[in-house]
Symmetry: C2
Subunit: 238 residues, 2 copies
């Protein structure tokens, strides 16, 4: 065997997005302990020798949240030879996995979660939402993975708009959808035009209920109808 | 170290699409030699220990075609524990890489090539186009990778229509574009409606030239204008 070919560990890392009540995108992070110092990171795991990567990602999500079924999308393999070369990261892997690891390839996944969903981790003592614009410096290339996941979530919603409703409560106002959409597209979108566009979508159904106890004018609630959406969205050119 | 964690080789495999003069999607395949038997497969390679996967894919494409710059998109990591477990595949890896390998993870890439482009492989003696509907049974999970790449190329064109022009000659007729689009979307699309739709796209520019020496009515040639396309395609909801 030429010593030139890689022979390595492979992990999965999951970027789970949520949308908070202050209209910010958040990511679920966990704590790792290193020399009594606490540091946060993306949830992830080495894959087992008899495991497929997609199964490993499902396992990580389940250990992380306790939720049985979550949307999950593999988006990129990160394999920079230097991505796990800091002494701190090598030490942590030695402690966590009981082996000296100095190169590791990871396959990154995107997932979406309603932020009010109860998180029942079976693995991590601490699981916390962190707003995307308040992220500290994370270990490995986790900041890079998150940056690329933001591009990816936009593409995902562009190709399948139904995905956006995974981040909203079951009943939502157009204002909430507008705020989420604006946070995702990172640009100013006129609310009136947005309202008009959204009203033309047959799969966004107005409900009888309206908001209660709000300081602004009470808005109507809507719900998303997945069946109507599926029927209407099969075209290649839109 | 728990013996349960994977420690493995990682490869890249490239699915390069072309569109032939009989309006069929094709894929570039190479030959592998095994016990004097010839078998075709997807072009690919183990990655080097100091190499990122994206760089490995670029290397494979260049060794395959001799073309300096091709569009390239990573689309999925295939890691089924059984994907390289047939004795034939293990034997071939032993010959090719001089080592016993019985598990290997691969990262699959999509690329597109004008079918008339000259192929100058620096690595493979035989590189051939094969129509997608004439594919034989391929080694490893290469048939599965190709099946998933077909889903992926549709998504890619859905999210970025400009990609379709990588498969067409620089000047093309609407009939050619229609045939390619139909091959990709796998359904009947009315040519009149298609023509009307395409004519409304400012980035598809009619040329003065028309077809010569054809048995049907000579059609006008068009070209794609990438600059106009980029200017007009920045919306999240289409």
């Amino acid at each position: 065997m030429s010593p030139d070919f890689i022979h390595t560990y492979v992990s999965v890392d999951c970027v789970v997005f949520g949308f908070d009540h202050e209209n910010r995108l958040n990511i679920l992070l966990v704590e790792r302990n290193l020399d009594s110092e606490r540091q946060i990171k993306l949830p992830g795991s080495l894959i087992f020798s008899n495991e497929d990567v997609d199964d490993a990602a499902e396992r990580v999500l389940h250990e992380l949240t306790g939720i049985k079924k979550m949307v999950l999308k593999q988006f990129k393999c990160f394999a920079d030879p230097m991505r796990a070369s800091s002494q701190e990261d090598i030490n942590w892997m030695g402690t966590e996995y009981k082996h000296h690891i100095d190169r590791i390839i990871t396959v990154a996944y995107l997932s979406l979660c309603k932020i009010d969903h109860k998180i029942n981790s079976t693995k991590y003592a601490t699981v916390d939402w962190c707003p995307v614009d308040k992220l500290p410096s994370l270990p490995f290339d986790h900041n890079k993975i998150i940056n690329e996941s933001l591009i990816e979530i936009r593409k995902w919603i562009e190709s399948d708009f139904s995905i956006i409703f995974e981040l909203l409560p079951k009943r939502f106002t157009i204002r909430q959808l507008h705020k989420l959409y604006s946070a995702l597209s990172e640009k100013y979108i006129d609310i009136k035009n947005f309202h008009k566009k959204i009203s033309s979508f047959s799969y966004i159904i107005p409900l009888e209920e309206i908001e209660k106890n709000v300081s602004h004018r009470a808005a109507r609630y809507y719900k998303f109808d997945a069946k109507i959406y599926k029927k209407n969205n099969t075209k290649l050119i839109k």
